[in-house]
């Protein structure tokens, strides 16, 4: 069945303690080329039927109302997974 991918990131202006902790671990591994890390979420919505405009609109709606909280997060991508 086709899949719609929704990606959510913490808002850019917010401190991301999880990303900070991962960045610290990278530093300890000597991977100094990576100046920062931010950690977000990826949702995979399995779709019954075709991924048409209606399905994408539905996915955008659940992304904004349930999957992400607009106060602290941004929905950065809603798209069919074409992998």
């Amino acid at each position: 069945m086709p899949v719609i991918v929704v990606e959510v990131m913490p808002k850019a202006e917010l401190l991301d303690p999880q990303g900070k902790a991962v960045a610290g671990a990278l530093g300890r591994l000597g991977k100094d080329r990576f100046a920062g890390v931010r950690v977000g979420k990826r949702f995979e919505l399995t779709v019954e039927g075709p991924v048409d405009d209606a399905a994408l609109a539905d996915a955008r709606e659940v992304a904004e109302t349930l999957l992400a909280n607009g106060v602290i997060e941004d929905v950065v991508r809603v798209a069919e997974d074409v992998a």
Binding site: P10, L14, L15, P17, Q18, K20, A21, L66, L67, N69, V71, I72
Partner: protein
């Protein structure tokens, strides 16, 4: 007798303590269930602390879409006092009954301590029994308790006196302006991260200069709602 409901969600932890606090405050605690569409005619509602749905997705996010939350939103609009403690506060923000949101503590660690707070507004249903600016000590325990909101919202909350509780001595989780609790515009809906229900009975509360574990400052939050209902 005034009846105050406590909603139990899958993963609620402090619903029993909230009911006990209500009983010690002199009201009748009423068990409510997240899956029902029924508030059983209660005079006030408490959303308790805990880890509803294992904090999956975001703290309080899935609980905010529970069947009973539709009734809570309706009741809040009618002016029924609603208190969200910790996870309950997170639910109220996720349900858009309160502005802002709660994210992981800035230092990344879970914090558990007896916390001094200033009661910044005595104008809400849950703080009417306090003096403005009064200091209280209640336990605080959270991993995702950093309150934040955009700058405009914070300014509005401050200007309208809707910052109800503020952390004193230390900001334990990185909350903006040290905000520990806020209210809606009408003042009937209040959410806070600290746990007043754990400071209601001598022997089980925070230490005070008078005696160990004798702090009962939390009791007056429940009494405020009770007295408000009786006066209405």
């Amino acid at each position: 007798m005034t009846r105050i409901g406590v909603i139990t969600f899958p993963g609620s932890l402090d619903d029993g303590d909230a009911r006990r606090a209500i009983r010690l405050a002199g009201a009748e605690p009423v068990r409510l269930w997240h899956g029902d569409h029924d508030l059983d005619g209660v005079d006030a509602v408490v959303l308790p602390g805990g880890f509803s749905y294992g904090d999956y997705l975001r703290c309080g996010a899935i609980a905010a879409h529970s069947p009973i939350m539709r009734e809570v939103v309706d009741a809040a609009a009618r002016g029924v006092p609603v208190l969200g403690i910790c996870n309950g506060f997170q639910m109220l923000t996720e349900a858009h009954l309160l502005p802002g949101g709660l994210v992981r503590n800035d230092h990344g660690a879970f914090v558990c301590r007896d916390q001094r707070l200033a009661v910044e507004s005595a104008g809400t249903a849950w703080t009417s029994g306090f003096e403005q600016g009064e200091q209280i000590v209640v336990p605080l325990k959270n991993g995702e308790g950093a309150y934040l909101a955009d700058a405009d919202t914070v300014t509005r909350l401050e200007d309208e006196g809707r910052v109800v509780f503020r952390y004193l001595e230390t900001d334990p989780n990185g909350s903006v302006h040290g905000i520990a609790g806020v209210a809606n515009e009408a003042g009937n809906v209040v959410g806070l991260m600290p746990h007043p229900e754990h400071a209601v009975e001598p022997g089980f509360g925070p230490d005070t200069p008078a005696a160990m574990r004798s702090g009962v400052d939390g009791l007056r939050i429940f009494r405020s709602a009770l007295e408000g209902v009786l006066a209405a």
